[in-house]
Amino acid sequence: MNRFAFESYGVKVLIASDSPEIAAEVFEIAKRTLLGRLVPIGPESAEHFVTVKVIGDAVNLTVDDEDYGVADSLETLLKFVDARIRLLVGEFAVDRVFLHAGVVAIRGKAVLFPAESFHGKSTLVAELVRRGAEYMSDEYAVFDPEGMVHSYPRPISLRSRTDPADYRSYPIENFSAKVPAERLPVGAILFTQYRKSARWRPTSLTAGEAVIRMIPGALPIRVNPKLTLGVLNLAAQSAIIAQSLRGDALISSQKIIDFVDKSIFQATII
């Protein structure tokens, strides 16, 4: 077996394959998908295992105790591994809570859009960045134990306007985006979802309601419920919280910026 082991966010992972090329490729994927935030470790230290076996012309993936069966192509499996490694690290990260959310920064405050995949958060994030917001992530809000948010600035994954099945990754440089180097406090948590012709009409939620709605997207909730609940609650206590449907990101993004501006910054002017 060919092996590479690394630690990322405190999670110790061993990648193994009977093919040296596949093992090396999966390790490159891990480095890329974790944004280089990993350090090599000795294989004996690993606590989680990603194994790819070649079976004839096909490839089989297991992650810890889960067997994902056989992929129809190596390309398919590698795409799956890309996302699966992120979930693995996000679930078991030490002293971090990974939450599915788009995140931008506006004047030093993180603005979160908790949402599942395919709910338009990347499109919204991209449009907000084009309008001057700083880019933190289109996938994860990464909280520390004090409820502050760290950037996870992976390439932005956008759906083609002509072919909804076609997703492509765009480097952050394409957007001339700035990424905050430091962690930021949460200024706003906005629950929003695209619906054709919808208008941005936010209504407020309590901190508790926001936490409940974030729970399904919090990767470590079952593994570390105490940290997860505590951190999300801390973040929600200091934030403006609202919900609203939204229409096309081209229009709604400016309304959202205006809302954040009015709610967070103008509200503090005495």
């Binding site: 996302a83 599942e116 309590t206 936490v211 409940i212 609940l229």
Partner: protein, 160 residues
Amino acid sequence: MHNSRNPLARKNGLVIQENPDEVLVYDMNSNKAHCLNETSALVWRSCNGSNSVSDIVRELEANSGKPVTDDIVWLAIDQLNDNGLLEEGTTKRFAGQSRRDVIKKIGLASMVALPVVASLVAPSSVLAVGSCACTAPGNCATVPAGCTSMVNCNMGTCAP
């Protein structure tokens, strides 16, 4: 000593976050998260096994400075019970009645906020954090969100 007629809040297997006017509870046994509004939070805190419903009514009135009826407290107790936040053996007052019917009975003119316990089940695994929705098989490879297939988009869901 816990009188089977006096409600007792469950503590084992719960992660609790207290806020000034809400309580968040994560039940590690059922992997459910609950948000108790101010009224249900006050009732839950008063369920110590010794307090009768009348005692809890008095505590709620003392805390809120507003008149409270037995029915309001019983509505909270029933909701807490339904969500597994009370020890077993607590009697249900409004068994078989919908929340709407109960609220009609209590009346919307209640001075204190009606008790609310909002609940949500955490996904069964990290893979279920997200959606298995797809428009093409390519979606299933990119986001393994609790899906049973990484290669097949079956009627809008990543499944064999």
